[in-house]
Amino acid sequence: MLKMATEFENMTDVRTAKMSAKDVHVFYGDTHAVKGISLDLHQDEVTALIGPSGCGKSTFLRCLNRMNDTVTTCRVEGTITLDGENIYDPKIDVVQLRARVGMVFQKPNPFPKSIYDNVAYGPRIHGLAQHRTDLDEIVTTALEKAGLWNEVKDRLDSPGTALSGGQQQRLCIARAIAVNPEVILMDEPCSALDPIATAKVEALIDELKGRYAIAIVTHSMQQAARVSQKTAFFHLGDLVEHGDTTEIFTAPKEERTRDYITGRFG
């Protein structure tokens, strides 16, 4: 296991990673949820985190922008760096970190505000726009990038909660993009969506991969195969195998990975 990780590090050292986790452990009270995971995220790349439920992939994802801070019983060990800086360093400002590392949740969670205000919320609190026109520009761009612009441009004032599930999720992605993040974390973004909405979100992820480092937790192996370049397989808090998506799905090295991919457990 440990050998695996070092081997993988050597393999990817060629390029500098955008985010890099080294030997990360997470505890919920007495429960050891994530056991020594090392993983890099790269710019221009989508990394899929797959594995059965309760394998620690969501927990690990939430460590990357310190959302686990909101859980009082949660404790994180090891280092995670963003552009070489340890994000768990006390010097690091978590507000800034979360602006740089955006997140999209499992269930669409638009704020009970208008579509415009949903997207403008981040830029406003961070002061990214000096004038109203700048803000309009940011909102428009974010909605365009999220592929939602044409559907909502005439009703920016209607509440975000009035959109369909798929639209809501794309609104949440637009909301994350609007803050101008460098990394986007997605926690099963399509699990609450129907197939058509899922296809739209997947197309969007593909579109976005050029500009952001993206990590996506997913239950669906087909989705992982479709959208990701790298795949990491988690099991019981361990990172079992990690590598190019095509390789993982066609020639997994580990027994457990093969069993999972072929559907023998999950």
């Binding site: 507000v95 970190l97 979360r98 969670n109 704020f111 009970p112 981040g122 609190i125 949440c172």
Partner: protein
């Protein structure tokens, strides 16, 4: 013969009925309970119910209407010089009769009244005996019918459960009956009031001085009944109370739900619960004896003229009383906001306070508005604090340093001490009560609707 004796004999009869029918059921089945449709005791229960219910019916008719009927008879029998129909002194005459009955010391000299008192007593005793006879015979008829039906194939349990179900339903209707009773009695007395004082004067009049209407036989020359100063005073004190309880209660709720550690919550929650459990009369005492004099002394130091019964003191203490109310209802509203919304905001890099102010509170707004409305209704209807700490002067002012009076203070002032049921002064208390009931009810209905709608959104 007393009412208690009637009640007890009914109970006794019911017990006898239980024992008898239970035995009869067993005998009818030849001593083998298995041959009965129901258990022997079910036959007993059924018989008891058949005795008690009709008996109680007769008894409660007496309880509710007995005295009124007797009074009617007495009044009708009085000579014209004492009482004339149409002349509105019935209550006065009745009161004299009542005093003549109760007083061992003979104050009453009028022979007509004394005779009436004697007649009243006779009728009352007769009425009691009649009720006794009636309710016991009702009970006996019930027992006879029940005993007749005590056969092995009689479905005693089903019948008894049927009766029980009706009793359950009646119990639940009683809550509605209470409301109807409130509305009915307030409306009835208020209508009598509005026959003497116009509704327009009551609702829009700027002058309130009911004390001039002292003579019950001259109600037409009543004093002024313009309730606007009372409404204004109530509003002023409620406003002060809400400006204390609103921010403190809401902020406390925010702190306890969003920031406080588990230990802090464990200490703070009981503090708020105790604050909520302190009787209002204690707050009133605190307001009148500690807070109001403190404000007055402070006013002297600052060169301000603060009344010793200032609206400020009463309002402040009322605000303290309402803090736990606001905070616990706001607490519910805030915790009902899904965590995903909060996470969404935090994940965008918002600070906790930005998240609370811009996401959590707007999402919880309907619940909080509901909480505030309920709190206002609480403040408007609060009695003891204002009775003890606010003044009696119906003054139309927005200055919190002056003494004002409220609707509830006036109700208490009008109805404590000696009173005549018919005078406009007394009746005006019911009109005020009606105004109070209608306004608090409206606030409650709106608040509960908002809160309910809001819960549906997040369920």
């Amino acid at each position: 013969m007393t009412s208690t004796a009637i009640f007890l004999s009914l109970i006794l009869l019911a017990l006898v009925a239980f024992a008898l029918t239970r035995q009869k059921a067993l005998v009818s089945a030849g001593g083998d309970p298995a041959k009965l449709h129901s258990l022997p005791r079910h036959y007993g229960y059924f018989a008891s119910a058949c005795v008690i219910l009709p008996g109680l019916l007769a008894f409660s008719i007496w309880l509710i209407f007995g005295k009124s009927i007797i009074e009617g008879l007495i009044l009708a029998g009085l000579p014209e010089n004492v009482y004339q129909e149409g002349v509105d002194n019935a209550a006065l005459v009745l009161n004299r009769i009542r005093l003549a009955i109760e007083n061992t010391v003979a104050v009453e000299k009028d022979p007509d009244i004394l005779a009436a008192a004697q007649r009243f007593n006779d009728l009352y005793i007769k009425g009691l005996w009649a009720t006794f006879a009636l309710s016991i015979s009702f009970g006996l008829v019930g027992l006879y019918l029940a005993a007749n039906r005590t056969q092995p194939d009689f479905r005693a349990r089903n019948k008894f459960e049927r009766i029980l179900l009706i009793a359950l339903a009646i119990s639940s209707v009683l809550a509605v009956a209470t409301t109807l009773g409130i509305v009915g009695s307030l409306l009835f007395e208020s209508l009598r009031f509005f026959q003497e004082v116009s509704l327009v004067e009551f609702v829009f009049g700027l002058h309130w001085s009911p004390q001039t209407a002292l003579r019950a036989d001259q109600v037409a020359s009543a004093g002024a009944f313009g309730a606007v100063p009372l409404f204004a005073g109530t509003l002023l004190i409620s406003l002060i109370a809400m400006s204390v309880a609103g921010p403190i209660g809401l902020l406390a709720a925010i702190y306890l739900t969003q920031y406080a550690s588990v230990r802090m919550r464990k200490v703070a929650k009981p503090v708020l619960e105790i604050l909520a459990g302190v009787p209002t009369v204690v707050y009133g005492f605190f307001a009148a004896l500690t807070v109001a004099p403190m404000f007055r002394d402070m006013g002297i130091v600052l060169g301000l003229d603060i009344a010793s019964e200032s609206a400020l003191a009463a309002g402040l203490v009322m605000g303290i009383m309402i803090i736990p109310f606001v905070s616990s209802l706001s607490d519910d509203a805030i915790t009902a906001v899904p965590k995903s919304l909060k996470d969404g905001s935090l994940a965008l890099g918002a600070t906790p306070s930005e998240t609370i102010k811009q996401v959590v509170l707007p999402a919880a707004l309907p619940g909080i508005v509901g909480a505030f409305l309920l709190a206002v209704s609480r403040a408007v209807g609060e009695t003891m604090i204002v009775v003890m700490a606010a003044g009696m002067q119906p003054k139309l002012t927005a200055n919190p340093l002056e003494a004002v009076t409220t609707v509830t203070v006036q109700i208490v002032a009008l109805l404590t001490g000696d009173q005549e049921f018919d005078s406009a002064k007394t009746l005006s208390a019911f009109a005020l009560g009606l105004a109070l009931f209608v306004s608090t009810m409206a606030l409650n209905v709106v608040a509960l609707k908002i809160v309910r709608k809001y819960r549906e959104v997040y369920d």
